[in-house]
């Protein structure tokens, strides 16, 4: 009861985390990536692109390019427009402009498992082979529940946090890799004005060109950026100290055969459409 009142007080002050209830504007630009797809790296690249003279830090990334899950509704309301917002969500028609980052799901599996182990949400003893069917190729079993349940912690300048069990219900649901990617491609795959699709692998192999596309898209979306090669080079330079991208193809070394098969059997056609060669096909050709 007390906690409900506390939430209500926070709601009145718009101190609750925005999440999926964020009030969107038509000029908002969203950077969307499934967790484990290198989204945080892209987020920092874009943040640097916005202001290369003052490079982004862990402290100011929330004010320059905040994510949906750690900022209050009030915090979002106070931002200067056009806002650029980071999100993991599936398709949302109210996101008018979207930069969607996609990554080979076999590498996503590896990255996500590492992330979860570090974050403590899966045990270190859990193998990749077990991780894939439990957390990657399966979508969450949502049991439903009351939105008002939350833990009482308020982080400075951020907002009211929810209990993790209900985060999915209320804050948002990235769903599975395939559902996330398919929902965006199904809705916007043929509409390059509304969605710029980037592949993590291309961003690693030619960051200069890919970030150039990002700058062009941001300018078409209403920003007034200097998209010159020099400025892009500066943004890349500035991001080097903050995040080093993982080399694509790590799955070949660490992902067990059964896990590869599990991923390819669920999403093979999506991977092919995104230009990721299937191991199943390669094996076929060798025979």
């Amino acid at each position: 009861m007390l906690i409900r009142l506390a939430f209500l007080a926070n709601y009145s002050l718009e101190r609750d985390i925005a999440g999926r209830t964020l009030h969107k504007h038509p000029d908002d630009i969203f950077v969307v990536a499934y967790p484990g797809s290198g989204g945080q790296w892209l987020r920092r690249l874009v943040a640097n692109l916005l202001d290369p003279s003052n490079s982004v830090t862990e402290a100011n990334v929330m004010s320059r390019l905040p994510d949906l899950y750690h900022l209050s509704r009030r915090g979002f309301a106070k931002m200067n427009r056009p806002r650029i917002i980071f999100s993991h969500e599936c398709f949302d028609g109210e996101y008018c402009k979207v930069i969607y980052l996609v990554r080979d799901p076999r590498d996503v599996a590896v990255a996500l498992c590492e992330q979860r182990r570090q974050g403590g949400s899966v045990e270190n003893a859990l193998s990749l082979e077990q991780f894939v069917p439990l957390f990657l190729t399966k979508t969450g079993e949502y049991q439903g529940g009351w939105s008002e349940e939350f833990s009482g912690s308020i982080k400075a300048n951020q907002g009211f946090a929810y209990r993790s069990r209900l985060k999915d219900e209320f804050l948002g649901t990235p769903a599975s890799w395939g559902e996330n990617a398919m929902s965006w491609i199904g809705a916007r795959g043929r509409d390059p004005n509304a969605m710029l699709t980037l592949r993590y692998e291309d961003l690693v192999s030619d960051p200069q060109a890919e970030l150039g596309r990002v700058a062009e898209f941001l300018n078409l979306a209403g920003l007034n950026l200097d998209g010159s090669p020099e400025r892009i080079r500066l943004a890349l330079e500035a991001a080097k100290s903050q995040a080093t991208p993982q080399e694509p193809g790590k799955w070949r070394k660490v992902l067990p055969e059964t896990a590869v098969q599990a991923i390819e059997s669920v999403w093979g056609p999506v991977m092919t459409a995104m230009g990721y060669a299937l191991q199943a096909d390669t094996v076929e050709q060798c025979r």
Binding site: L8, R20, S147, T272, G275
Partner: protein, 301 residues
């Protein structure tokens, strides 16, 4: 300030609308479509099928098959489960049982044009051509365009290439996938139960369409009950109900009364109503989706 207090009070009493704040249960059944695609008719058909004792009207439809955007949260959570819920949302991974109603976007355009006038979004001088060019094809006022709404729900592993443009030198059509078996369009991954219903099929044979939906929901439905539900939900009876109850239904309460909500209830109106330009505009944006769902293209693309 006053508005602020009001919204807080509403929230405290759970009188605010559910929208994306709603909690979803795994046994919820969603009746999803883009606006003006026969959703209200389907709500009546199902409402009447499940409540044979008394015909459903506009005054009580929000109780029988609540609209997720109209029903206050407090009422929404009191509905007996499994809940049957109407929604215009784009893809939502939490919806585990979905009936998606699709209608020829060219007819949707005509219908939505009159609806936009009815709800006073546009005035009488606004032309149909301008509506399609400026509001219908590029507009996201109904949480996504027609193509985004349908595409987000209809895409799956067997048809994904239809939704891609070649990018980065990769042509999605060049690489085949041997193991893929064509299945009906629809986001049926991860065990989601998905039923695609074409409004036109429902118009042609409402009994058969309703039987199919009842089977999908696992409802026992005798032919007599199906017939009764179809009769009680006919365009004529819905028109009568509308003129008697339009002030009791939130959707029509504050709209123009000279334009009806239940309009022609027919298909193919676009053939006479739309200009060739408008047809081409719609087909060039969403031809891939129309082909996928069996709507023949009229313009040469």
């Amino acid at each position: 300030m006053f508005g602020h207090l009001k919204s807080s009070a509403r929230y405290a009493l759970e009188r605010d609308f559910s929208l994306r704040r709603h909690e979803v249960w795994t046994d919820d059944i969603f009746l999803v479509s883009f606006p003006k695609s026969g959703n209200t008719w389907t709500r009546f058909l199902l409402g009447n099928l499940m409540n044979p004792d008394k015909p459903v009207g506009f005054a009580d439809i929000e109780r029988v098959v609540p609209d997720i955007a109209v029903c206050p949260r407090a009422d929404f959570r009191r509905i007996r489960r499994p809940r049957l819920i109407k929604s215009h949302d784009g893809f939502d991974p939490r919806y585990r049982r979905v009936i998606y109603i699709i209608r020829d976007p060219r007819d949707v355009a005509v219908s939505l044009y009159y609806y936009a006038k009815k709800v006073k979004n546009i005035d009488d001088s606004f032309s149909l051509d301008a509506f399609i060019k400026r509001l219908f094809v590029p507009g996201r006022s109904y949480s996504g365009t027609w193509g985004e709404n349908a595409g987000s729900w209809l895409v799956n592993v067997t048809n994904i290439t239809e939704f891609c443009l070649p990018h980065n030198g990769v042509n999605p059509h060049s690489a085949g996938f041997a193991g893929a078996k064509m299945v009906a369009p629809g986001a049926s991954g991860h065990g989601r139960k998905f039923l695609l219903v074409r409004y036109e099929d429902l118009l042609e044979d409402a009994q058969a369409g309703l039987r199919r939906i009842a089977e999908f929901l696992g409802l026992e439905a005798s032919p007599e009950r199906i017939d009764q539900a179809v009769a009680r939900s006919s365009a004529d009876s819905m028109r009568k109900l509308e003129s008697a109850q339009n002030l009791q239904w939130a959707t029509t309460r504050e709209t123009r009364k000279d334009i009806p909500f239940v309009r022609q209830a027919k298909s193919g109106q676009w053939r006479t109503a739309l200009s060739a330009n408008s047809v081409a505009e719609i087909e060039s944006a969403w031809g891939h989706l129309m082909r996928l769902t069996g709507y023949e293209l009229a313009s040469i693309t």
